[in-house]
Symmetry: C2
Subunit: 218 residues, 2 copies
DNA sequence: TAGATTGTTAATCGATTAACAATC
DNA sequence: TAGATTGTTAATCGATTAACAATC
């Protein structure tokens, strides 16, 4: 195949492919079939083959995919071979958690600057990073070639922070605040809104707590 | 409409509807049309009407939806009118962040117990909750009627923790670890995996950083 | 009544899956 | 060669959108 416009659904599956491929790598598996990948992820093998074929012919007929090779390709597709600098705004518990996550990442994404509106937080250290005031955002983004901004402020502050991040010239935003952001077209926003996942999970709970009168279905 | 089986896509949109409805409520708006909701959320009005119609006839022709009334209905659908107790496993920064989030929630979901495998963490206080050992999980789940478990442990530990949560009798899991969990059919797993969102965001960045030789497109 | 907006059916669009020739 | 598995086309399935009668 190669080219066509790639759908979002496809792109969103790539990181999970990468994730299980890392696992296969760790187990020193050399070759993997779409069947095996599908098993691991609960996906249809045809879908995996089709997804990968959008980007190139990575497999070998009758054999499967070379694990290391495929990892390389997906990393390339996701641009994880180049360093991607990230700024984080909002140094609450969630912000702290994400800064720490930094350390475990084998990807080239790295939080290189941290900001907060709260004067009391400014100057504090989080790991080796010093919390900066928002007024320094734009200059830091330029100097450090920051391309992605993470928003971990309360929801009422999210839009204002997004505006400043956009104005600073960032290309993508990962928003943890439960709020829909309005940004110009050239900036991409992804949402990491666990409240949505948590509330929708409740829908699938059994309607009534099982009670003790014995009348309930199983 | 009313009934049919409801697709996941529909259910996942309900919390966002709720979110903007809360916003309208705050602004003391009485009535809202699918048009206005769509504007706010970047969704097609027909989709919103259709989504809501799965659950009942909540609107009034020529008028729209009563904000308070619709909030009530969606809360009911998502089971947010009953208290839903939640247990959290893994008291790292992320776990802490989620425990705090607790306070802001106007929903009836509440983290009522916190667990960690690490002996050093046990007995520590997080807000008013005391970190318990995993060995107490099952009994606590039963005693406190806990229905949802949140996993915020490192990815390598996620499956083992999931097994224990399932064994304890929980109905749903929200997993923050970047790992695919295997659980029995009657347990529902939602993923709150921001790494997926972060890595897929990179795909949409411009291929090359703009350079300084002036040859790049704008 | 005239204008607005729902609920729903039909049309469209897109994504997933099945099937299979190509080939390692 | 025989068995396995890809890449891709065609078939299916499902979700989104348009359109409109019903009606507030």
């Amino acid at each position: 195949m190669k080219q066509d416009k790639i759908s979002e659904a496809v792109v969103r599956r790539l990181p999970t492919y990468l994730q299980v491929l890392y696992e296969f790598e760790r187990r020193e598996v050399v070759t993997v079939s779409s069947q095996e990948l599908g098993n691991e992820l609960g996906l249809n093998p045809a879908q995996i083959r089709k997804d990968l074929a959008y980007f190139g012919d990575f497999g070998r007929k009758g054999v499967g995919y070379d694990v290391l090779n495929l990892i390389g390709h997906i990393r390339q597709i996701l641009k994880l071979n180049q360093k991607i600098n990230v700024a984080l705004v909002g140094t609450g518990n969630l912000g702290h958690a994400l800064c720490n996550y930094n350390k475990y990442s084998k990807d080239n994404m790295k939080i290189v600057a941290v900001f907060d509106e709260n004067v009391e937080k400014i100057g504090k250290k989080i790991n080796h990073l010093t919390v900066q005031p928002m007024s320094e955002l734009k200059q830091t983004v330029i100097e450090q070639q920051i391309r992605i901004g993470i928003i971990t402020v309360p929801d009422f502050a999210a839009q204002a922070v997004a505006n400043q991040i956009v104005e600073a010239g960032v290309e993508g935003i990962l928003n943890f605040a439960p709020a829909v952001l309005r940004v110009p077209e050239h900036v991409r926003v992804h949402y990491a809104d666990f409240t949505k996942e948590l509330l929708s999970l409740a829908f699938y709970l059994e309607s009534e707590r099982r009670n003790t009168d014995g009348s309930a279905l199983d």
